[in-house]
Amino acid sequence: MKEILTLIQNLNFTNLDLLSVGITIAAIALLGFIVYISNVKSITSISFLIFCTVTMLWSFFNYISYQTSDPESYLILWKTVIFLGFWHSFSFFNFLYVFPRGKVVFPSWYKYLLFPYIVVLSFWAFAGDLVFSGVLINNGSLTPIVERGIILFTLTVCLLIISSFVFLIRRIVISKDVDKKPYVIILVGALLTFVLLFTFNLILPALFEITRFIPLGAVTILPFSVFTTYAIFKHKTFKVKNIGSTLMAFFLCTATFVEVIFAETPGQLILRVGIFLFVLLISIEFVKNIFILEHLTEKLEDANVKLQALDKLKSEFISLASHQLRSPLTVIKGYASTLTDGVVGDLTDKQKEVAQHIYVSAQGLANVVEDFLNVTKIEQGGMKYEFAYTDIRTIVNDLASDMRIPAELKKLDFQTDINEGTFMVNADATKMKQVFLNLIDNSIKYTKDGFVKVWLHSVNDDKGESADSKPGLKYMKFGVSDSGIGVSEETKAKLFQKFSRGEGAVMNGGGSGLGLYLAEEIVEAHGGKIVIDSEGLGKGATFSVTLPLIHV
């Protein structure tokens, strides 16, 4: 053992052979590291890592077994190479058996026959005389004494390798065209590797007596490792910054490992092994986290894109739905009003009433559509107001005359108390009209009998003090009072939430449940206030909107 360590420590690193073997080992280690890190849980990555590790060990020992002239070291090294040779072909077989699955349940023959067989044989070859029993010294050059066990070794290795190719080819044949690519790439890599192996280790020595390339076994494995890594990563985008971090971590591990080899005392060895393991663990965590971060970022970006598309789709849908709903509603309102206005002849009072019901219902539905559209705009932050100097009085008057009909259809006493003068407010007329409409509509809906009163006053502050026309008046107050079902104290705040209904909501159908939510949004955007006053259930209610006046 000590001789081997000395041998390793005295290796001449400027030797071209050693350099190429060294670089190849490093490259294979790196590839194994990268593949493993990218998916630590997958049996495929683990198998690839194992394969690369065994390859590194095999390559290394294969090389130095040709560098020693000490018979004892020579024998041990050669036995090690055979030992590793068993595991090398087995790990190759194992990798191609599991690729590309993430999880595999190994069958009984694998666990209880093949694996123990390899264990037994490899240890027999290492510790016993299965393959090599001694060393022949022939004019300063050493050759091993080969036993019959070499046949077993060769057979085993060949069987394993042939089976691996069979797996690969079978996969290529049974998979769909689009899935074939990775397998084909691996197959090409494997073929290249074996061509090189046979050339270096069999054809050149046997036919041309060129044995010079045998120690460079490592290089022959390189094509397979490279092609396989490429096949595994083909579908993954590999960001440059990740490669940098991975390389950094890898070199750190390599450096601490090299330190281990050059430890001079047992104490130093233990310390350096400790450091190496520590660095290795941290590196794995570090690189793993980078990959996880990148993966999550990608997922987030994808989700974001999908959400934006969905948002756009929702907007377009609401737009289209609104238009499609409004078209037939326009026709219903049009024909109903044509009846009630006597355009196609006079109606009896009863007939007129019926037509009015149709009209009022259609109008109700149109309001619901309007509410949906507005709420969508608010939710998407796209509610834009077109402020302009507006005379609120005109809006209230128009509404009062429109809403008289549905009120009187319910046999309610419809009253108005609209002060004289102009009520100029900086407002979006359409939206404000919608607010007032919703309030009057609610009143009518929730009043079984009695009255509904629409009023408009000026006040000199927004606390609701009513006053007569005085200079310096600052606010206007619009209100709807009724003798309806009223509002309890607890419900007052809740009514302004989306889709909320007051008590007795079950009594009435229709309505979007969004009216008050919208009203509050719109009124507050105008710098105003909306208030519910009610003495309780069954005692009627007054909904009022206060808005700041502008003086022209």
Partner: protein, 124 residues
């Protein structure tokens, strides 16, 4: 007698408008597509046009553009649509409409009153 041309593909709406405007004393010309509208405008020279936006062969905006390109025609156009988005409104105004109305907001009589106001130069 004032001539009103209604360019609208919905047959029901055309009927509703015709009944209401004829009662109010208008001569009503009806076209069901922008393409027919163009030639009809040239032949009949209405006093005001009610124009729908969503029509199959030539939509409202294409009609407005075609009318603009033919500079001899200068009839006020009121765009009537059930689209209430800002883009439609802006497009209509920049294409030369004197007013943009949301169809569903108006009953037959209310539309007649509104058109009357527009023709008198009130609330454009």
């Amino acid at each position: 007698m004032k001539k009103i041309m209604i360019i609208e593909d919905d047959k029901d709406l055309q009927e509703i408008y015709r009944l209401n405007f004829e009662l109010a004393g208008y001569e009503v010309l009806q076209e069901f597509d922008g393409l027919d509208g163009i030639s009809s405008v040239v032949d009949n020279k209405p006093d005001i046009i009610l124009l729908d936006v969503m029509m199959p062969n030539m939509d409202g905006f294409a009609f407005l553009k075609a009318m603009k390109d033919n500079t001899s025609i200068n009839v006020p156009v009121v765009v009537c649509s059930n689209l209430s988005d800002k883009e439609t409104y802006a497009k209509a105004v920049s294409a030369g409409a004197v007013s943009v109305l949301l169809k569903v907001d108006y009953s037959g009589k209310q539309l007649v009153d509104k058109i009357g106001h527009i023709m008198n130069g009130v609330d454009i």
